[in-house]
Symmetry: C2
Subunit: 458 residues, 2 copies
């Protein structure tokens, strides 16, 4: 097997030679094929894919990353697209379709069989990022009065079409979920026992309108392979499997991380996203932050006289406002993550504010003391801060304490306010909070200076 | 059932009343018990836990978050600790022990049976964050010459002790892994078929020394329930199951996000971590950044004459250096995440640098043009920038372009350099990069100003 893979990695496939190598390619596993296809340029990707048997084609397609799936859909003849879309599992199909532009989706839906089309439209009808979009209707459901033998025969017969047979669900005549079973319970039970003998009537289920974040946290907490999805009447609609949840968890975290860094979510690997898309995702926020930061120039213009009289104040300005920005970045990032993990909710704002006031005072005093000594020690050996250095030291101390306290407080409250207003809290990125604190921190610092230095330097 | 849960949520348990409620508590499911225990103060947590039957105790313990597990271990009598530790699954036990201080681990190891102790020490012997620490030896292995009936009988007999029976592994007489099977393959195959008839000799395995990040990416890519773990000789040592991987994935992402925000990883929920621990995790980096940022005061001291002559230069300083910091935060965050997802490696540095030079020029010119117009438009209506405003506009334009380019470049290279030196790339947080760019950006800006404004303002 290894020999064929090594060979396939080295050969350069072309329309002329692909037929003769087709047999060797078909001995590879879907996993080997995915790695092989991904290592090749687009033309060769398509050639390899078309040389596969239909069965292998479907299996390989499901493992391919989205952008390659899209490339391949663009070049396949219609009948192959139809076969492929009808064969992949409904949740993978929904994920694929929801990533495509709307026009293309309508086009692709035409290739589905009436039943598959109805199913896909139904899944696409649930709100984006909802559990409904992630679920598959391929599960096994049984009745409470069946025997273990009946269940096992049923699994043998129907198991091939089911997304997972690790978990089996008992429903009543109206489709209401009554209990969940692991397949192992039936394997180790006597064949003539009844399903109800094994029941404990405890189960965990997701609601079809739950959002992805909630689903991730439930899976993480309870470590399940799959979870049933129900509607308001507890009717079983489908299941969500852990593999889709793991993919969604990583995707959501990537989006959060990118937003915290001050860009829009990239929606693709860094090296593969086209340059202009990358710029579009980055320049927007940079400009917004730039316009916000322009207020610093205006605010400083307001203190221009003070700066002219005491240039020494300007020397410490970046130090003080960036310390406030750093404290704010820390606080906002901690709160964004705790919100995403469900550790805190907006309702906890009062306790969080309490905590961040104490944190801000502690952190502000720590930096304030260091700043005070920086000015004092330098002044003992040089004359750079003039005869009024003790007053400057006090200004730096109070400025740092105030700005860091303000940074912690506004950094922690910003994600909560955004969430409360229905926005994504991750938008209160480190650069966003830093900019906010730059403008306000500058005003705090110069106001303190005006008070402390009045009658001496100012 | 709900009635008992509702009741238990409302009652305040005390040493006096716990016995009489014990029966009702024992009707609850482990999941309900976890939620109940978590909602109560520590004293009650312990009371509830001790009132459970041993079987329920073990199941509930496995679902409890680490800090509650630790609380409970602290109050249980020795024989209960022994029972508990011997009963929970080996991978959960290893995870628990590796979170505890070393002295306590040695203490707890005493409670394990000789076999369980040998096993745990072996698992603890693998490097931290390695697949070896995550694996469990509770899997089912079969031989190629068995029949399907033999396999199913074996599953019925041994399945109870196994972490997962979704996947079953075929090994040879030396323990070398030959193939993996899903339980469904046996359920839908004729009973007299042989294992080798179902084999395809394709399998995916992790190496025992692989790190967690690699394991996460393999699970994410191939959507498996469990993966086998082998050593250099392909001997099957254990399996890793998806539930542990999901937990590790979320933990790693939390650590990365917190580091990107400029704190150390919290290792616990924001609201529950003690105040002083929270401060310790935050003040360290704030001080490091503060000391770094002090260089801005020194660098500005060097340009004090220029500032005194043209205070207008100081007005734009925060705007320019923070724009460089923002561009740097974007670049470093994108690179940190792409590294974690395995999309790029340190070897790609040349291509990344190339991409970020173009990005930096594009983003720098975009902001530079806006800055240029800001000064120009203001100057048409006011006189705040004096008669030399065109030169100031040019200084702002060149300064922004240069500093943003420098920010993008250093922000993208920093994570790669840290990774190359063996550090965690996430340490090059948004605040870290912003501080670095503040100091260097200031020098770039004033140097440009000195050249452009020489003979006029300076």
């Amino acid at each position: 097997m290894d020999r064929n893979l090594r060979f396939a990695t080295q050969v350069k496939f072309s329309p002329e030679n692909i037929q003769e190598f087709s047999e060797k390619l078909n001995t590879l596993s879907p996993i080997e094929l995915v790695d092989l296809i991904e290592s090749k340029p687009p033309e060769e990707k398509n050639l390899i894919f078309k040389a596969l048997s239909q069965n292998l084609e479907v299996q390989t397609f499901e493992y391919l990353p989205f952008r390659t799936q899209k490339e391949i859909l663009n070049i396949l003849p219609s009948e192959e697209i139809a076969y492929l879309l009808n064969s992949i599992s409904p949740d993978d199909r929904t994920t694929l379709l929801q990533e495509l532009p709307n026009g293309l989706v309508t086009h692709l839906l035409k290739y589905l069989s009436p039943e598959e089309r109805a199913l896909t439209i139904k899944l696409l009808g649930y709100p984006e990022n909802s559990v409904g979009r992630l679920m598959t209707p391929d599960y096994l459901s049984i009745k409470m009065d069946w025997t273990v033998k009946q269940v096992l025969d049923f699994v043998r017969e129907k198991g091939k079409d089911s997304e997972t047979i690790n978990v089996i669900y008992a429903i009543d005549d109206k489709g209401v979920l009554i209990d969940d079973f692991r397949i192992r319970q039936f394997l180790i039970a006597p064949l003539d026992a009844q399903v109800k003998d094994l029941a404990d009537y405890h189960f965990l289920a997701l609601h079809v309108d739950d959002n992805e974040e909630k689903a991730i946290n439930v899976f993480r907490k309870y470590g399940r392979v799959a979870l049933p999805v129900v509607n308001e009447k507890n009717v079983l609609l489908g299941i969500v499997t852990f593999d889709d949840i793991l993919a969604v968890a990583v995707k959501e975290d990537t989006e959060d991380i990118q937003k915290i860094g001050g860009t829009e979510a990239l929606d693709g690997p860094y090296m593969e996203i086209p340059f202009l898309s990358l710029m579009r995702k980055r320049v927007g926020w940079l400009i917004v932050l730039f316009l916000g930061e322009m207020l610093t120039a205006s605010a400083m213009g307001y203190f221009e006289d003070e700066i002219a009289k005491a240039v020494v104040l300007a020397l410490f300005l970046p130090l003080i406002i960036s310390s406030g920005g750093n404290a704010g970045s820390q606080a906002s990032t901690l709160i964004i993550r705790a919100l995403a993990l469900g550790e805190i909710t907006v309702k906890d704002w009062w306790r969080i504010m309490h905590r961040e006031i104490y944190s801000g005072i502690f952190l502000g005093l720590s930096l304030g003391v260091i700043g005070f000594f920086r000015v004092s020690v330098w002044s003992l050996f040089t004359n750079i801060y003039g005869i009024h250095w003790p007053l400057i030291a006090v200004t730096i101390f109070l400025g740092l304490t105030g700005v860091v306290l303000w940074g912690s407080l506004s950094g922690s409250m910003m994600p909560l306010i955004l969430k409360r207003l229905g926005f994504d809290p991750a938008v209160s990125s480190a650069p966003f909070v830093a900019t906010l604190v730059d403008v306000t921190g500058l005003i705090i610092y110069f106001s303190i200076a005006k008070i402390v230095l009045k009658g001496t330097l100012l």
